[in-house]
Amino acid sequence: MAELVSLKQAVSELIRDGDTVAMEGFTHLIPSAAGHEVVRQRKTDLTLIRMTPDLIYDQLIGMGCARKLVFSWGGNPGVGSLYRLRDAVENGWPRPLEIEEHSHAGMANAYAAGASNIPFAVLRGYQGTDLPKYNPSIKFINCPFTGEKLAAVPAIRPDVAVIHAQKADRRGNVLMWGIVGVQKEAVLAARRSIVTVEEIVDDLAAPPNAVVLPAWVISAVCEVPRGAHPSYAHGYYGRDNSFYKDWDAISRTREGFLEWMNRHVLGTRDFAEFRQSALG
């Protein structure tokens, strides 16, 4: 049952060194504040799962929090490279990073399998690509009914899922809308989960069929206004596309990156202070 706690407390109690952590949000509702808190608390040896590592994992990887990354598209959307991810893969800085690489379809299906509590997902996928040569967890099976050759990937079962959503009520039920990605599947596939929200309200006023995660499938709900920045929260604020462009320069060198992270993330106590420090 969800507890309404501070993000600091949630990260401290629910994410352990060595955990497998999925912080999801497909371009929209990326839990950036939670990522910062993981850096502040110096969590380490994490296996990070995320379809699009984006800035949130570029930061965690560059700060040495991860030993492995499971992903399907690792760029800075619309801008170019994630330099910290590249530096870890190409040069092992600040530590070697094991990678397990999929396609979006493979990961989306693997999350759905995790949420469904079945051991693997089956899809028409990966035909003719070189990905299965380097990722032993992509295999092919024959359909027991038609004989058709299909791809299989193991279910994703994270220790912890972390997502951001628009609203929670005081009991900890969570509502999200807009581009909802794989967040519902990530939470339902995980043993524990943290949801940061824009605001906590008395009544979600959710229409039937809205994407609502009931309090009893969530471990912690934390109110963190603008906690998805530089990603966005539909109905609250837009994507800060300029910041995504700025990140290209901030993250290009190790020194520039560390200076920025030390100053704005390690040098602040929470996301509100970070915003003041980094964005003015």
């Binding site: 929209h28 619309g78 991810l85 190409e90 299906n109 999350y111 759905a112 996928g125 807009g178 599947e185």
Partner: protein
């Protein structure tokens, strides 16, 4: 020859947009494909259905999104679905007419690399990776690829097949269980390449005004074939150029610090 009043990129985007038809269902990659697909929608194909992998179906953004999941895609969509639903019910199901992809490298059989330059385990350059492309490349009926022409981009054999094209000279896509036809055309900033029906090799099928065949050959990493009676692409018409420049101008303004 008089200096053209349009750029090579504008010619490329216009040429790509012209290959899309009204009422087609098009699964759109971000960047160059998105620009061309929206230009088609704003000119000759007002009823084209644009789908982005973020889950937005039938979207009509009036500015080009920077990312695959900008809010404007959801705001202007007929429907927004989850990512597992997108890949299962809408792509894998075979509902897509055209998959429109970008690439870092493409080889003479239209195979696409967006993963690594060099060896996978010791890459010279680590590229972003697959995203939705491998399954778009196999599930959509036809594939269009848009990519700027250079010897680094057009290679004899890609370092890594991220998304499959026509494989090689002999292997049949159907034998791998692939339903889609694969690349129908590769649109570059010099011309349009199409697979030769017999050899499957990408062959220069149309060239832009003012471009010499030797220029295209120099920018291609294999001995490039040329179709007989090579047609010259019609230059961008004024309405196409106006629509594209307005779109680019609006997009540039919108993507400068636009946080509410």
């Amino acid at each position: 020859m008089a200096k053209a009043d349009y750029t090579a990129d504008e010619m490329m985007t216009v040429a790509a947009a012209r290959l899309l038809r009204d009422r087609q269902v098009c699964f759109v990659g971000i960047g160059l494909p998105s620009a061309a697909a929206n230009l088609a929608r704003l000119t000759h194909a007002p009823n084209i259905v644009l789908i982005y992998e973020s889950g937005t179906i039938g979207t009509r953004p009036d500015v080009l999104p920077l990312s695959i999941g900008d809010g404007i895609l959801a705001d202007t969509a007929d429907a927004v679905v989850s990512v597992p639903e997108m890949f299962r019910y809408w792509l894998q199901s075979g509902r897509i007419d055209v998959g429109f992809l970008g690439a870092a490298q493409v080889d003479k059989y239209g195979n696409i690399n967006t993963t690594v330059i060099g060896d996978y385990r010791k890459p010279k350059v680590r590229l972003p990776g697959a995203g939705g492309a491998p399954e778009i490349a196999t599930a959509a009926r036809d594939i269009l690829v848009i990519i700027r022409h250079s010897p680094r981009a057009f290679v004899e054999k890609v370092d890594f097949i991220t998304s499959v094209g026509l494989l090689d000279a002999t292997t049949d896509r159907r034998a791998l269980g692939i339903h889609g036809n694969g690349p129908a055309a590769i649109i570059t900033d010099l011309g349009i390449l199409k697979p030769d029906p017999k050899t499957r090799e990408l062959t220069l099928a149309s060239i832009y005004p003012g471009v010499a065949v030797e220029q295209v050959r120099d920018a291609t990493g294999w001995p490039l074939g040329v179709v007989e009676g090579l047609p010259v692409t019609q230059p961008p018409q004024s309405e196409e150029l106006r629509a594209l420049r307005d779109l680019n101008e609006r997009s540039k303004r919108a993507n400068e610090r636009a946080v509410a």
